[in-house]
């Protein structure tokens, strides 16, 4: 049974007056993660939107202890936090990294790999808005094929890195994907993470109105379309056990997926695919990648 919204704790850990942009889905994710953790957490944040949003001195945007550090350093810093907590006899506080896609897919990948391999008891959350938003929307290795960024003016020529497979190769105790359009599902996954000592990894799909160029109120809609077009797959892996998320289950069948145009057309970063006419070839490439990802995920995990 999924948690009912009314059963989530009322206490807010994401404080008012933080520096987030209008429509920021990161705040939705943080809000639900912290409701699930209820304050018994130390959060490590590398350079990313979240660091700016919650730490602008002399204010604090989160009602929990936060350690902001350098871009490549999050997972290693968390290792140190966990080790010192253990040395001091604290085995209950969750150590959680909250990092963007740049700090995870790219510059933070080595430290993440190391921390997972050392079986660090922590939860690493990558909130993936598929671009270096904080520095002005440059491409990352999480940026999807044909998306425009300030460093890919005619769209990115390469497909995104399938990070989940890299993480899975480290065999974390618990791994999941989530999407801010399904906050109750995300809340439940954080609750589940609390039950599994050892390395845990959560990958959150997180639309960004600034970088993706859509009206600020459309974030939830876009997140849902990502699932309904099959672009984003909701799944969990508890040890070896793979669970295809109930939101994604029916879209395993390509016939049941909504046309990808519904998802792409809402976002300015893909507008060149429709101007002056629909670029059938490039859109077919995106569709092919979507199917390829489904194939790889299902083949690997089931």
């Amino acid at each position: 049974m999924m948690v009912a919204t009314k059963d989530m704790p009322l206490k807010e850990y994401v404080l008012k007056g933080n520096a987030a942009c209008a429509g920021c889905q990161d705040m939705v994710a943080l809000r639900h993660a912290h409701k699930a953790l209820e304050g018994d957490v130390i959060q490590v944040v590398p350079a990313c939107c979240t660091s700016v949003v919650q730490s602008l001195w002399p204010k604090s945007g989160l009602a929990i202890p936060v350690l902001n550090t350098a871009f490549p350093a999050a997972a290693a810093t968390a290792s140190g936090v966990r080790a010192a907590l253990k040395a001091k006899g604290n085995d209950h506080t969750m150590v959680m990294v909250w990092a963007g896609d740049g700090g995870t897919f790219d510059i933070g990948l080595q430290a993440l790999s190391g921390a997972l391999e050392r079986r660090t008891d922590f939860l690493y959350i990558c909130y993936n808005n598929q671009v270096y938003s904080n520095t002005g929307t440059q491409r990352s290795s999480a940026t999807p094929l044909h998306a425009k960024t300030t460093t890919t003016w005619f769209g990115k020529a390469e497909t995104e890195k399938m990070l989940d497979l890299i993480v899975a190769a480290h065999e974390p105790v618990y791994q999941f994907t989530a999407n801010t359009s399904y906050p109750r599902d995300f809340y439940d996954k954080i609750m589940k993470a609390k039950e599994h000592p050892g390395p845990k990894f959560g990958h959150i799909f997180l639309p960004c109105p600034q970088a993706w160029n859509y009206p600020v109120e459309k974030g939830v809609e876009i997140g849902k379309l990502a699932v309904e077009t099959g672009y984003w797959i909701q799944w969990e892996r508890i040890g070896e056990e793979f669970i295809l998320g109930r939101q994604s289950k029916r879209f395993l069948d390509p016939e049941k997926r909504k046309p990808i145009d519904e998802y792409l057309k809402m976002q300015g970063r893909f507008s060149h695919l429709y101007k002056p006419t629909r670029d059938d070839k490039k859109i077919a490439e995106i569709e092919a990648f979507i199917q390829h990802r489904w194939d790889v995920v299902m083949r690997t995990f089931t």
Binding site: G39, D40, V41, I42, V44, S51, V52, Q54, S55, L56, W57, P58, S60, L62, A63, I64, P65, V66, L67, N68, T69, A70, P72, A73, A75, A76, T77, A78, S79, G80, V81, R82, A83, A84, L85, K86, A87, K88, T93, Q110, A111, S113, G114, E117, R118
Partner: protein, 397 residues
Amino acid sequence: MTISKDKIKIEGLTGDSAIAHALRQANLDVLAAYPITPQTIIVEDYQRFAADGEINAAVIPVESEHSAMSACVGASAVGGRVATASASAGLALMWEILYVAASMRMPIVFTVANRALSGPINIHNDHSDGMGMRDSGFIQLYCQSCQEAYDTTLMAFRLAEHHDILLPVMVGIDGFILSHNVERVEMLPDDEVEKFVGVRAPVDPLDPNNPLTMGPLALTDYYFEFKEQQDRAINRVPKVYKEVEAEFEKITGRKYGQFETYKTEDADIIIIAMSTMGGTAKVVADVLREKGEKVGVIRLKMFRPFPAEGIAKAVGNAKAVAIFEKAMSFGAAAHPLAMEVRTALYESKERPMILDFVVGLGGRDVPPTTFVEGIEKTKEYLKAGKAPKYETLGVRK
């Protein structure tokens, strides 16, 4: 009361091993490190202590030095007593986090077997790594002997964790020359070390019951104030160092000061050198004095904060100061040690002639003859009344 001799354990130890023993006795909470020559024995020995159940610390075998210093920051932020070790390229890879550690006021003890930087690839000693991090905000202490490496590592925790300081400390030993050479080391009994180093009392650690933000974003409106506080903290080091050393002297009878002077009182020419070069320089001074030449030595231990006033006073009325240093600052007005010394002496009433000899890069041996060559040149320059800005000695030209 110095500790009675029957309680002191005397062993032949390499510099690395001496440091490992000091770390064992210092009751760390966390040690995080990545292997790099010639620091490796420190962590190998420490891991052996862990395997033998002699320590309770968590050892994090990280996947890079960047992660080593990052893990130290994380552990220190929670209030742990923390140490790491590195050298050369590893230290260079830490560079970003060195600044983070110092500015977040994390009292991490960082032992370094000083080694040249690439390229060409070289594993031997010089001070390029330490000099490269000199503006990071770390306190820097360079050691001449294995005994001093042991003693300094113990004192470093007291200095770093002192509430008037709260800064990371680098303890440097010359790679291979000290790190791998066996010397006689007197070790204190564990309980005496425990009494001396105590337990770290953190100021505002990360704690879910008392949430706070560390490492915030501070822009044009506040960043400078953080730096102002950091600057004040490092300037409080000499006073606290003196107190810590006095306490250490009480139990061991040993002290080193920010720098050591050797026959400088009446000296015409004073050699200034760091680390193991200090030992060679003292022997050279002895021999030259037998020949009637008034040569003295200042062996600098504390490079950061730099004891400028003390050095100026110790130089006194000498005619010349001959600096022997193992690092270059390419294209600079003077190389790192000479830059400090020249600045320190600028306000002296009668400024001595200052000679800057760059020696020993990449582990090139610095034998007594190199010092004699420098002294001979110094005498020539004194006679001529002028000297080159700097010179390299012991290199094919």
